[in-house]
């Protein structure tokens, strides 16, 4: 669907626009990542509600993470997460080998320092989705070689 192009462009513009405003002295650099993450959080909350309207109740945490890796990721990014690892003690690592938002940037180490900016929104998306499914978490991302990236989810016991 042509919607993907719209979302990709809008996301790119958001990142660029926020960082441009920061360079002009309207805020420190770190706050841009926070702003992007909080936008992703809001979107994630809304999206997960619309998405899980008709699905069955989840059995446990692992079930929820598998849902995020398969159905949620497929709807948002048109593919599944390639690898899910966990230590069964509340830490999950989601690995995506061809992350949609990074594909058009580079295929290797070029522009590696800019990659985190483009992952902040998605971290918020995951955190927001989990939050509305009843899980409080902290989500971080790391990139070692584009377009593969890893999202680390740390479940917070409430």
């Amino acid at each position: 669907m042509a919607d993907e192009a719209l979302f990709l462009l809008l996301h790119g513009e958001m990142v660029a626009g926020l960082y441009r405003a920061a360079e002009q002295g309207e805020g420190e650099n770190g706050r841009c990542t926070t702003k992007l993450e909080s936008m992703g959080f809001r979107v994630g909350q809304g999206l997960i509600e619309r998405f899980t309207k008709d699905t069955a109740r989840f059995k446990d945490e692992l079930d929820i993470m598998k849902f995020i890796c398969k159905d949620f990721w497929t709807t948002v990014f048109k593919k599944q997460i390639d690898n899910l690892r966990t230590n069964h003690q509340g830490i999950y690592v989601l690995q995506d080998n061809k992350f949609r938002l990074l594909i058009q940037m580079s295929a290797g180490k070029q522009y590696l320092e800019h990659a985190p900016k483009y992952l902040a929104f998605t971290c918020g998306l995951i955190r927001g989705g989990l939050s509305n499914l009843g899980i409080k978490s902290i989500v971080t991302a790391e990139v070692s070689s584009m377009p593969a990236c890893k999202f680390q989810v740390m479940i917070q016991k409430m």
Partner: protein
Amino acid sequence: MSRSPGRKQENHKISRELFVLTYGALVAQLCKDYEKDEDVNACLDRMGYSIGIRLIDDFLARSAVKKCRSYSETADMIAQVAFKMYLGVTPSVSCSSASGNEFSLILDKNPLVDFVEELPAERASLCYCNLLCGVIRGALEMVHLAAEVSFLQDRLKGDAVTEIGITFLRKPEDRKHRR
């Protein structure tokens, strides 16, 4: 796990909702960052312009349409092909000037405001969908058509319909294809 046939349409709907929700979060963030409505509108227009100059490539690649030979064909193309492709709605086009360079697109259903009930009182002059104006302006500029695009009516502000006005700025040149 059996999938119901309606699942694919739901997924399309959800990826459109992703865009709408992201846009809403963006507008909310901009409202927090800027106090004046004009600043938010200008920022949205700028962002829309940057998106439009890139979106036109995607549009032309997907639709493979022929070159438009007049302003009214261009306006029809925007309404019937582009809007349908990206937002799933088809606004109606009307020409609002005798010289043939002012058009308006009337949207009775605007997907961008699906989740918006009303503008907050202190943001009365916010053009929520100003991104669209920037996108159209940017896309037209990349095909060498200068235009001014703005919202003439906005349902969120109490008007009956949402109307986008496109004014092409240069007179159409008569091209004589003579060899």
